[in-house]
């Protein structure tokens, strides 16, 4: 057992840190969706130009194929340098891209993967539907084969960056007469196709990154199907473990940084009764407890990455990280409101305090998006402990 990184790893960290410091975007990330897209892609292009695109991608697809430890280092430094969130780049780099790598034809791979890496396109996901949330496989958006096309009609929801995306990994129902997991098809949808309308959904902190997407007889070439008609469920599940334990590294480092910043704020600010916030021992102890819990979350990240580096297939421990990350995220940013005191009533978007209020509001989604905490607990109990379904 060791925590020390090798000289090679340490050199890598130095190199990464230097590059990030020198190349961090100086402008504030815009709130407007179109401008945000351009900002995110420009940032991806900058990484690509410097050889940092796709650090976990296989070399054969143009990635860096860095060992897990160096991926960890990359994400740690990324978070510490407060670089822009992966947001608009996420589906391409971490979900659709990896899916194409393992399931698509060489032609699709050759066409799409370089564009993703080079920051030329934004991908979005078309999985969830209004009536298919946790029960994703009950999706009803239908696709009818018409010659060499699928004709898609229906609705998706929670499609991040849908209004500004170029492509979508889309799940459609191609057979209504078989058990629900067996009639689903995974297809690449060109978001410029006629018949698609994407409407932004405003979220509780005022963000506009999610969208509903409506499909009215949208024609998609059957050649865009990946993994074969009616085989979409297995395609959709094939990337679940692509991250191999690094998925929550950025969030975990941000949590750690946030707790330290809150401690500093509690020392420098005064509460309603005029004394330094930190002297409210009840609050101080919550901050200390947050330190301990965040430390444990980081340790679990390290342990998980250590194990995954030795295993072919990551275990279900990823659900543990997600569950604890969600819980701590909610707790830490709720604590931030306590540190702010009555100043948390104000949410002006120009001030530092608003960061904390925004993060608090955003934190509600941490136990919902990407699989609710309830679903994670089912997974852990059933797959790790073997409890009955």
């Amino acid at each position: 057992m060791d925590l020390a990184f090798s000289k090679e790893d340490n050199d890598f960290r130095e190199e990464v840190r230097t590059w990030m410091t020198e190349n961090a975007p100086r402008e504030r990330r815009p709130r407007d969706l179109v401008a945000m897209r351009e900002f995110d892609l420009a940032w991806q292009r900058k990484q690509y130009a410097a050889g940092w695109a796709g650090i976990g991608w296989p070399e054969q697809f143009g990635g860096r194929e860095l060992p897990l430890t160096q991926q960890l280092i990359w994400y740690e430094e990324y978070a510490r340098t407060s670089l822009p969130p992966i947001d608009a780049r996420f589906v391409g780099l971490a979900h659709a891209g990896p899916t194409l790598m393992v399931r698509a034809t060489p032609e699709h791979q050759a066409f799409h993967l370089p564009k993703i890496l080079a920051g030329e396109v934004v991908w979005c996901q078309g999985f969830s539907e209004p009536e298919a949330g946790s029960d994703l496989a009950s999706l009803k958006t239908k696709a009818i084969v018409d010659g060499d096309h699928l004709v898609v009609t229906g609705q998706k929801i929670w499609t991040s960056f849908g209004p500004v995306a170029d492509y979508q990994e889309l799940l459609v129902r191609t057979d209504f007469d078989v058990p629900k997991h067996k009639g689903i098809t995974w297809v690449i949808c060109d978001m410029k196709s006629p018949g698609i309308e994407a409407r932004a959904i405003k979220t509780i902190e005022g963000g506009q990154e999610f969208a509903e997407v409506f499909y009215d007889e949208v024609r998609i070439p059957i050649s865009n199907v990946v993994g074969g008609i009616n085989n979409g469920w297995s395609v959709a599940m094939s990337t679940l473990s692509f991250e191999r334990g690094t998925a929550f590294t950025v969030s975990q480092v941000q949590l750690s940084t946030s707790v330290e910043r809150l401690i500093e704020m509690a020392k420098s600010r005064k509460s309603v009764n005029g004394r330094p916030v930190i002297e409210d021992e009840a609050l101080a102890k919550k901050l200390a407890r947050a330190r301990a819990d965040v430390a444990a979350l980081r340790s679990l990240t390290y342990l998980n990455i250590s194990r995954n580096a030795r295993a072919d297939q990551p275990g279900p421990e990823g659900s543990m990280l997600k569950l604890q990350d969600a819980d701590l995220t909610k707790r830490v940013f709720k604590l931030a409101l306590e540190v702010l005191g009555t100043r948390s009533l104000a949410n002006p978007h120009e001030e530092d305090d608003s960061y904390w209020v925004d993060r608090h509001l955003l934190s509600y989604s941490s136990s919902i998006g990407g699989g609710t905490s309830e679903i994670q607990r089912n997974i852990i109990a059933e797959r790790v402990l073997g409890l009955p379904r």
Binding site: V272, G341, S373
Partner: protein, 342 residues
């Protein structure tokens, strides 16, 4: 001893619920979101005509002469309906005016003049003479209007125009209008001490009542969703991960309601532990509403995270109401310093 509602209270409940449903539905929050004022003037006048702002004021002072326990039922509906506008501070301000010897002002407030409320910043003080000093925030105040400032010892009304640096800022709650401001020795235009009228105590109880309404509203929203939302071929309410949080909301709603009316009656009957129960009500109903509203967002899933859904509005209003009259931390300290309840 009887804590069931009287026929008069049942009437307050049904008429105020109907008025709010018709005149100030929750959708008004989004409709008014981009306006500088969150008040619907017609509805406000309607409420004044119904006597809402002087419901608990003695008839001798031009009020309806009901008790705090009756007002609790009105404010529970106001909370449930997330009605926008400074209802709570206006009702308290009418008392400050009336008991502070400003009958005309009390009458004006009862007739529809609005009064917002001061949220003290660090080191904000109401002096022995009632003068206000320090950095502060204003909730639902108007530039040419009045603001209520309250401490455990006294309550005062000041003119917003006597404050400096009044700057609107966005509030975490889209149904509330917030300003930052400063006061340096601003003289009150009306003042009443707690021994004459316990304004802060009444404020605790009415804030608690609003929080109870919120808790009840999210309980119903969650239960309805648990019954109607189908996943894996069953209503999600069959899952204990949904069912049990809903049960907890039901328990919290009952507890908060019980403590709010207990506190109100304790006040109306002049019990010496009335402050104890009032602070307990605010603390208990505040925490319960907070927990229930947050659990509701979770139960609603993605929908609960959208601006269009009401779930977040309950969370945010509950949060704002928790900040009133010192905020949770100060209230806990005060409660511990009081003698035990009877």
């Amino acid at each position: 001893m009887d804590l069931t509602t009287s026929p008069e209270q049942d009437e307050i409940i049904s008429s105020s619920a109907a008025f709010l449903r018709d005149r100030l539905p929750i959708t008004r929050i989004r409709a008014l979101f981009d306006e500088s004022s969150n008040v619907d003037d017609a509805a406000w006048s309607g409420a004044a005509e119904l006597g809402w702002f002087v419901l608990g004021l003695p008839e001798a002072n031009g009020g309806v002469g009901f008790g705090l326990a009756d007002e609790v039922h009105l404010f529970r509906e106001i909370g449930r309906g997330l009605a926008t506008g400074p209802f709570l501070s206006t009702v308290l301000a009418a008392r400050v005016a009336a008991f502070g010897g400003h009958a005309a002002l009390a009458e004006a407030i009862g007739g529809g003049q609005r009064v917002g409320i001061v949220i003290p910043g660090s080191s904000t003080l109401i002096g022995a003479d009632g003068s206000l000093t320090g950095p502060l925030q204003l909730l639902d105040c108007e530039a040419d209007g009045l603001a209520l400032a309250v401490s455990p010892e006294q309550a005062v009304l000041v003119r917003v125009s006597d404050l400096t640096g009044v700057t609107p800022v966005a509030c975490i709650d889209p149904g509330v209008r917030l300003c930052r401001a400063d006061a340096s020795g601003v003289a009150p235009i009306a003042r009443v001490t707690a021994d004459v009228d316990p304004v802060q105590r009444r404020g605790h109880v009415l804030a608690a009542a609003m929080l109870v309404g919120i808790n009840e509203a999210v309980r119903d929203l969650s239960a309805e969703h648990a019954k109607s939302r189908v996943q894996f071929d069953k209503p999600i309410g069959v899952n204990q991960a949904i069912k049990h949080p809903c049960a907890d909301m039901a328990v919290r709603a009952q507890l908060g309601y019980a403590q709010s009316i207990f506190a109100a009656v304790a006040n109306d009957e002049g019990r010496e532990d009335a402050d104890y129960h009032a602070i307990s009500a605010h603390l208990a109903a505040g925490e319960y509403a907070d927990l229930s509203a947050a659990a509701t967002v979770q139960i609603m899933g993605g929908m609960g995270f959208t601006f269009e859904h009401d779930a977040h509005l309950y969370c945010k209003r509950a949060f704002v109401l928790g900040q009133l009259f010192g905020g949770t931390s100060t209230q806990l300290g005060r409660l511990l310093d009081l003698p035990s309840a009877r």
